[in-house]
């Protein structure tokens, strides 16, 4: 019975894989027969440079999805529309006016520079689409088969091995005792004897007490000094947002999103409209994007869900491409927090002093998950104020006082500390 079952399974598997391979080959051969790659490549290039800012093949964007547009419209009509749609609308063409109204009067640019050949190439590309990439399929298979062993498994295994050794050792001992070997006091007995010896030795008592007190003081002061110091704090945020992808790979400037840093005390968390400036277009991440956190490895499917969270917060319907008006806040968890009794102003550091964000916040553009890089303690502030030389160029108003200060301290360039950067009242008032 069992063998028959196995046999059935193997034959089914074989059959399936053969059909799969056949299908794959067929699709491949069909593809290579029909597509004129030169024409497609030319069309794709034009499409990407001229059309793609408003059109996608498979999805509505500013304008309609263009896959198979040749089946929906006459070629002549399309040519007229693409060259100058305003003219076509003015001539009273009903289709043209209808599509214009359907997209709420979004003005399409005129492209009089395109030749008939160009337009045909673009239309050809919209009909045949992109060549299917084999690379992305194979990586997906790899991605699903790859599974990491959880960390606690190792500990459990280690514990089992240690217990097994202990059991074997005690068994061996019992066997040798049964065979007539003299009884030994055993590990616990030995320890007990040692303990009694230690208890009677006054010198060891004194040394032990001193050692214990030192350790206690070290631990005690260590934990007291860490009160309120959150260096390395890395909470789990409501959206798995990667600074590495945004600021690192895509090189978006820090201040693009944290735009209030240049004029205000706070470098605020960007409001959702700033996210939507890009994510209105980018509703899916690229094929092989991976984001690794301690708890979870995010792949494309997971990351696309994270983008949906922005849409939910912004009240954006990604199907109809309209705002619904139902918004909700994203509850980001604040990481960098100075106590309320210390005043800090971002604009003074970012705009006036021109300090790079990374000086305090660390290599954020490499962080997949943001953490607090600096301790943000007073000593840390003061160290920097003592070291940082102030750039006095283009500041004629204070020139005289700067010269006097430099003379007073006998230096060429004053530091932030010498300008008063250590005065208590500057930050605590």
């Amino acid at each position: 019975m069992k063998s028959v079952y196995l046999h059935n399974r193997i034959s089914k598997l074989l059959l399936k894989s053969v059909t799969f391979v056949l299908l794959f080959l067929m699709s491949f051969s069909v593809y290579s027969q029909d597509v004129d790659e030169a024409k497609q490549g030319e069309g794709k290039k034009l499409f990407k440079s001229l059309c793609a800012s408003c059109h996608k093949l498979d999805k509505k964007l500013v304008g309609p999805a263009l896959a198979g547009v040749e089946e929906r419209r006459e070629n002549d009509w399309l040519k007229k529309w693409i060259r100058n749609n305003a003219e076509l609308r003015a001539s009273g063409d009903r289709d043209a006016v209808a599509i214009y109204d359907e997209y709420n009067g979004a003005n399409m640019n005129a492209f009089p520079q395109l030749t008939d050949q160009d337009i045909d190439n673009i239309l050809y590309y919209t009909t045949v689409g992109d060549p299917r990439s084999k690379a992305s399929e194979s990586t997906e298979v790899v991605a699903t088969t790859q599974k990491e062993a959880p960390g606690w498994l190792i500990y459990i295994l280690a514990a089992i091995i240690v217990t097994a050794f202990l059991i074997i050792a005690s068994l061996l001992k019992t066997i040798s005792e049964l065979k007539g070997a003299p009884k030994t006091p055993g590990l616990l007995g030995n320890l007990h004897e040692l303990w009694i010896g230690v208890k009677q030795n006054t010198f060891l008592h004194v040394v032990g007490t001193i050692f214990f007190l030192l350790v206690a003081a070290y631990i005690g002061f260590g934990s007291l000094f860490s009160v309120g110091v959150d260096q390395g704090y890395q909470p789990i945020q409501p959206i798995a947002f990667s600074h590495k992808i945004h600021a690192g790979d895509n090189q978006i400037d820090c201040q693009y999103c944290h735009s209030s840093a240049k004029h205000s005390k706070h470098s605020g968390i960007p409001s959702v409209n700033v996210c939507m400036n890009c994510h209105k277009n980018i509703s899916e991440v690229a094929e092989n994007t991976v984001l690794v956190t301690e708890e979870k490895t995010y792949r494309k499917a997971d990351l696309d869900k994270e983008i949906q969270k922005i849409y939910k917060a912004a009240g954006w319907n990604s199907e109809t491409l309209e705002y619904t008006g139902e918004t909700e806040p994203i509850k980001w968890i604040r990481i960098h927090n100075l106590p309320d009794f210390a005043y800090f102003n971002h604009s003074q550091h970012v705009t006036v002093a021109g300090v790079a964000c990374q000086k305090c916040h660390g290599p954020v553009e490499t962080m997949e998950e943001l953490y607090q890089f600096s301790p943000l303690t007073m000593g840390w502030c003061i160290d920097c104020h003592r070291e940082t030389k102030v750039d006095l160029k283009g500041n004629e108003y204070y020139q005289k006082i700067h010269e006097q200060l430099a003379k007073k301290y006998g230096v060429e360039q004053v530091t932030a500390a010498q300008l008063g950067g250590l005065e208590c009242g500057k930050c605590h008032y």
């Binding site: 059309c51 500013v62 003005n107 909470p235 400037d253 735009s259 509850k331 927090n337 309320d340």
Partner: protein, 183 residues
């Protein structure tokens, strides 16, 4: 035997006290009310666990301090009107141009490219496609400002990230880039 158990239990408790610092949790705070501001903070919520953000929009019909109202509407007509009528209030000087360049570098160059040819990093990485070259578009001071205010097609509004003055400085720099490209 009981002694050993007592000893090891104390040891474990002591170790547990010192070792429990997870990077997912904040360190303990001494007098937490000194760490957290009593008044509303930017990006905060009105109440703990409430869904109401402490950042609010200005009351309708009012203008926030330091803001300049913009009267052109976000329609095709508004765009045409701004394109014809709107003129920069700023003097065309080096200082404005320099700051315009800096702001352009932060807010525009990622897509439009440092030269304004539409070949920024996001364009090269094919995140955004079809970003136009400034020289291919018939734009004026007014229309550039209008587009920064409201966005156009896929471009979103950048009004919240730039002040009135900065927007006009960017406009001046974009015009300079466009003139360079036209050469």
């Amino acid at each position: 035997m009981r002694k050993y158990i007592q000893f090891s239990v104390t040891l474990i408790v002591l170790l547990g006290l010192t070792a429990c610092s997870s990077k997912r949790e904040r360190q303990p705070q001494y007098m937490p009310d000194m760490y957290v501001a009593v008044p509303y903070e930017a990006d905060g919520a009105v109440k703990v666990s409430s869904n109401i953000s402490s950042n609010r929009k200005p009351v309708e019909g009012t203008i926030a301090r330091g803001k300049v109202p913009y009267e052109y509407t976000d329609t095709n007509e508004g765009y045409e009107k701004a394109k014809e009528q709107l003129i920069s209030p700023l003097a065309k000087n080096e200082e404005n141009l320099d700051n315009g360049k800096m702001m352009y570098g932060i807010y525009c160059a990622t897509c439009h490219g440092t030269k304004g040819d539409g070949n920024g990093v996001l364009s090269q990485r094919e995140k955004f496609l079809g970003i136009p070259n400034y020289k291919d578009r018939d734009i004026t001071e007014g229309s550039i400002y209008h587009v920064i205010m409201y966005g156009k097609n896929l471009m979103g509004s950048h009004a919240s990230q730039l002040t009135h003055k900065e927007r006009w400085q960017v406009v001046q720099y974009v015009e300079k880039l466009r003139n360079d490209l036209m050469k």
